[in-house]
Structure formats: C-alpha cells, structure tokens
Amino acid sequence: KSQHGSSGLVSLLVFVLALEAQALTPSHYLVASDVDRLQAVLSQPFTDLKSAYFSVVGLSKLGVSVADSNDACSFIKANVDSSSIEALFYAAEASQAISSCEIHVSNETRDSLHAAVSEDSTVSQIHQAVSALSSLGLPLASQEVVSALKARISKEDNVVAITLALQTASRLSQQAELGEILEEIEDLAARLDDLGGVYLQFEEGLEATALFVSAAYALSDHVDMEPPLKEDQVIQLVNSIFSKKSWDSLSEAFSVASAAAALSNNRFHKPVVVSAVGPATVSHSHPLLQLHVTDVLCQPLSSANVLVESATSVASKAAILSQTPFTLRDGIFELNFMASKPASGYYQFSVAVTGDSRLVANHVELKVKVSTKVAINNMDLSVVDKDQSIGTKTTRVEYPNKGKASFIADSHQNFAMTFQLVDETTGVELTPHQTFVRLHNQKTGQEVVFVAEPDSKNLYKFELDTAERKTEFDSISGTYALYLMVGDATLENPVLWNVADVVLKFPDEEAPSTVQSKNLYVPKPEIQHLFREPEKRPPTVLSNTFTALVLSPFLLLLILWFKLGANISNFSFSPSSVLFHVGHAAMLGLMYVYWTHLNMFQTLKYLAIIGSLTFLAGNRMLAQKAVKRYSLHHL
C-alpha cells in the first residue's frame, strides 16, 4: 500500500511539473528600441491640450519627464478652457504630472465639476470631472460618485465606459463602497477574446485592452485586492498589447504606455521577459550565455535571482547543469556555459527567475547552441589497385594545403580517401551533418558530389570506384579537382577545401559530348489537347438499308389489312370522334416534336392539355360506340 502511495505522489509531482513546464511566456514584448520609439512618439510637439495631456502623462508613465517642463506648463495654462470639463481634465492631469505646475480654478469651475458628477452625465464626463477634482486637490464626495457610476454602468454597458468607471473608482476614497465596481473587472475580463491561446484582447481593439489593463491594476492596487486574472491571462494580455510596435495615434501610444507602466509596477502581477542577447549561442570565443531579464518596460530586474534549473543536451539527454545561478553585470545576466565543457550541439535550458512573489511567467525554456570549430586530421589519399596486388601509396595532405601531385586512377584502380573530423579545442570526434566530396572538371564544368560516411570509429572514408561510377561522370576522362565540404549548424568554420587533383581515366569513352547542363527550366514540348474522338459509325449505306428494312413491315401491315378488308366505313363524323382523332394525331405529333425540340417538362405540359382533351373526346366517342354495339347485340 505504501508503494502505491509513493508512486501516486511521484506521478502527481511529475504532472504538476509538466503543467508548470507548459506555462505561457510572452511571445510579444517591447525591446529597448520599441520603448525608445514609444517615447519618441509621445515626445512630439503639442498641437492642442489633448495631445499635451497624452504626451505629458504618457511620458510620466514611462518614467521620463517632458522635455521643457516650463514650456509645457505655460502651454497648458494658456489653452485651458474653464467651461469645458474635458479641457479641465486634460489640464489638471497634465499639470499634476509636471512638477511645480499648478492650475488654479475659480469656485464656479469647481462647482461645475461637482455638478458634472450625476446620473445624467456620461461615464466619460464623470471620469473627467472626478480626475480633474482629484488632480487639482479639491475635495469630492466619493459615495455620490459611486452611486452615479453604478447608475451609469447599467445604462452604458460597453467596454470603454466600464473601463473609465474603474479608472474613476481608483481616484476615490478607500472608505467608499467600491465592491460592486470592483466586480466589474471580472465581468469585463470575461468579455476578452482568446485568440489561439496566445492573445487576449477586446474586439474593440488594442487601445481598449490597454486602457482596461491599466484601469484594472489601478483599482486593484487602490483597494489592495488581487485582480481576478490568471497568470496565463496576464501573459496573453501582454502579447496583445505589445504585439504592435508602431502606433497609429497618440492616444494609442498613450494607452500602451499606461498599460506598460501598470504591468511593470503594480502590487500583484509582474510579467517577466527573458530573452537572449543576440543568438543564444556559446563557443570558445564567446563562452558567456547572456540573458536580458526585464519587466515589460524593458527595465532589468536587478533584484531578481536568475537560476538555471537544468540544462540537458538535446541529443544525449544528459544533464550538464543543475541549479546554477547567473551573475548580473551591467543589467545583463551572464553565465559561463563553456566552463562546464559541453560538447557541441543543442541544449535545452530551463531558467527560473525568483526573488519577487509578483513575478509571472518566470519559468522559461531556452534552446542554447554550443558551436565549435572543426579540424581535419589524418587526411590520407591513396590509389588502390582493385586486385590489391600492388601496395597502396598513401599520401597525407595537411589542411589547408593542396596535395602536390595529382592522383591518377583508371578503371583498374580505386581512389580512396580517409580522414577524421575533430573538435579543434577538445579533440573529440565530430560527425557533422554535411560531409561531401566534390569532383569538379575544370574543362567541362561538370561536377559530381558524393557523401563521405563515417565508420563505427568515426573515421570518415570515401572510395571512388572508377569503373562503377562512370555513369555519374558521363565517362568523361580528365583532371578533376577534389574538394572536401564540411558543414553543420554547430560549426563556426565550415570547410571548402581543395584537397588535390585527381586524373580519372574511364574505359571506352564515347566521343565526348559537351556537357549539357541539365537545364530543367526550358519550356517543355507543348501538349496538344486531344478532343474526344466521336465514336466510329457504320457506313451510311448500311444504316439506310436497315432503316428501310425496319420500316418495311409497315407496308406488309397495310397489305394484310387491305386483304382482310379492314376499312373505316364505320367512321361517324360526330364532333367527339373528330376531336378525338385530331387530339390523338396531335399527341403523335407532340412525340415527334419532343424528340426533336422539347424536354420532358415541356412535353408533359403539352401532353396534359392535349391528352385531357383527347381523353374527354375519346371517352365520349367510345361511349357512343358502346351504346351502338349494345343496341345492335340486343336487338
């Protein structure tokens, strides 16, 4: 029983670990250049009070102050229109973001702001009034605001309005009853569309999603209650908001900056972005694996601990590292991976970022490549006689030199090549993906490529049987330059080495035709479409003969009827009789017309008309005949 218990526990642990391994990490995020671009967009010169608001407040969210604060302050003061709630809102918010910039408002203005807080104003107006009052440091009645908001939310049930309501609630006193408004976060989160498990956004677009995120976190922080968003949902929101790297309007840029600020600095969730600096490749010349570990605003998490939980080789599944920390230097986390002397190839890293309970997506899987330089050892070339009677002459050639003498091989001999490929630094044998031997005839331009295969001891061998391979060479004798090509994704120095010249002599050489490069891309011969051949018909004479033959019995019938004395002397010219015969003839005519012109539907239509007339007439006529016959018989 204890065995079952422990195995159950182990499987549960494995399951939990597996689940953790599947946690979502951000696939779209802002890099330093994107943040700079965002800042540049927000730093454009102001055109009006609204753009001033977006720029000043947006930059403050990014932690940057506007270029010339005095200029900005005077611009705001000059453009504020005290009769417009909206203008007051922009002015108040912007001035609060600039240090030592104060706007004074008259009592009437203050009263108009208070008056705007009612059930008759839109949520947008309430939001602007409350924010203006709050930024100007004026008192406001939080409970009134709450009741006005609740009334308006039920009337304006759209995403933008509820987001503004959330934003407004975050400016109110903490003693106010914000519970119902807080629940709107969950309702609104349910309206988000999940796109492919990667993105989570409103159908209203990026701006609405970004503003929702900043409002939700603002309110959650204000009441100190964790927002009802799961970790995967937070990452999906990050993907949606930061997938766009250039923004159509100032308001869009502002919303993104707001969301970025909210996600990088709230009390509950802090998404982590882990990415390699450049390609995730280490080698002897670059032994350090460098990672950017930042928040969504691309600021490094200096207080975090970054740890390699495990690093396993993809090929051999052997674990190289376990629980190894990264060191922080200049905002970049580094680890000297080459110090563990890994063999070249790919490694699966499992990195964990700890140190803050708010971190989200802090377990990342990373694929790291270890490259190396290849060295070619013991390159031995020889010409072996097929019957092995004459001893082999082996010539060693050192890379990158070329063999001095040419090698001559005719049909009785084989040309052989052996070599070893080793890691330059460690001397470990390598088996790269591409090891080709290329023979190039300089005169004809012909080239033939073979693959060199390693044996069980990782020694590469290449043998060229001149007689056997003559078809590849088109039996063209001559001097061929021999090249060795070595390549692999993990090699830093791919090799193309002209090893030696080989003179090949082929038996019974045909008149050497100039090598026609097999051009595959010339137009092919045109295919003529063959229409369906009509079936063979018998000769017209035969058909005509048989037509006459088939019609001849009719003649016989007429003769027989005449002989029998069949006649129409009993024909009564009553109207029904005439009509019947006319109708019947019409029906026969209709059959002919059907054969030549009509389709079934038309025929049925005409047949119905003619047929019913004929039927009525015929019925009448036959009845008359029956009466006549009856009276005749019963005389």
Partner: protein
C-alpha cells in the same frame, strides 16, 4: 416426322382462317408487323453493333411493349374471353390500350436520344 409438322401447321392455319373473327385477324396482322419490326432491329444490332445503345434499346423496347399491349387488347376484345373480363368492355380495353401506348411512347421518345 417433317410430314407431320407440316400437317400440323397447315391444319393450324386452316383452323385459324376459319374460326378467328376479322377483328382479331386485324390485330394479329398488327402483331406480326410489330414482331417483324422488333426482329429487324435486333438483327441490325447483332450484325452492326450496339452503337448507339440507347437508341437500340428504346426502339426494341418500343416494339416489345407495343406487342405486349396489342396482345392484351386482343385477349380483352376476344368475345370467347368475355367471362374473364366482365368489367372491361372492348371500348374500355381500347382506351387502356391507347393510354398505355401514350406512356410507353413518352418513355421511348425520351430514351431514343
């Protein structure tokens, strides 16, 4: 042997000539005509081939169908069979004959192509 066959046939023909009414002979002549027409069509098909098959079928079926309907008419008209067809008068038989022919020829002309 052959003598007796000829004797039987001539006896049959004699009986036929004397005992069948004219009306029935008229229908029998018609039957012979239909038979010959069908036979010649079949002969053509055997000799020359079945192309076009649908035409051959429709023509042949027309012959066969007409033959059958004429036989039905003959049976129903024959006064010797009156006991079997109390509800069917000769006129009714003829009307049925015409109606059935209409349907048959509708199908035949459709199929003849």
């Amino acid at each position: 042997m052959s003598l007796s066959v000829i004797a039987v046939i001539s006896r049959f023909l004699e009986e036929y000539r004397s005992s069948t009414s004219n009306k029935l002979k008229v229908i029998d002549a018609y039957l012979l005509y239909i038979l010959l027409t069908g036979a010649f069509q079949f002969l053509y098909c055997l000799l020359v081939g079945t192309f076009p098959f649908n035409s051959f079928l429709s023509g042949f079926i027309s012959s066969v169908g007409s033959f059958i309907l004429a036989v039905c008419l003959r049976i129903q008209i024959n006064p010797q069979n009156k006991g079997d067809f109390l509800s069917v008068s000769p006129e009714r038989a003829f009307a049925d004959f015409l109606f059935a022919h209409t349907v048959l020829h509708l199908v035949v002309v459709n199929f003849i192509g």
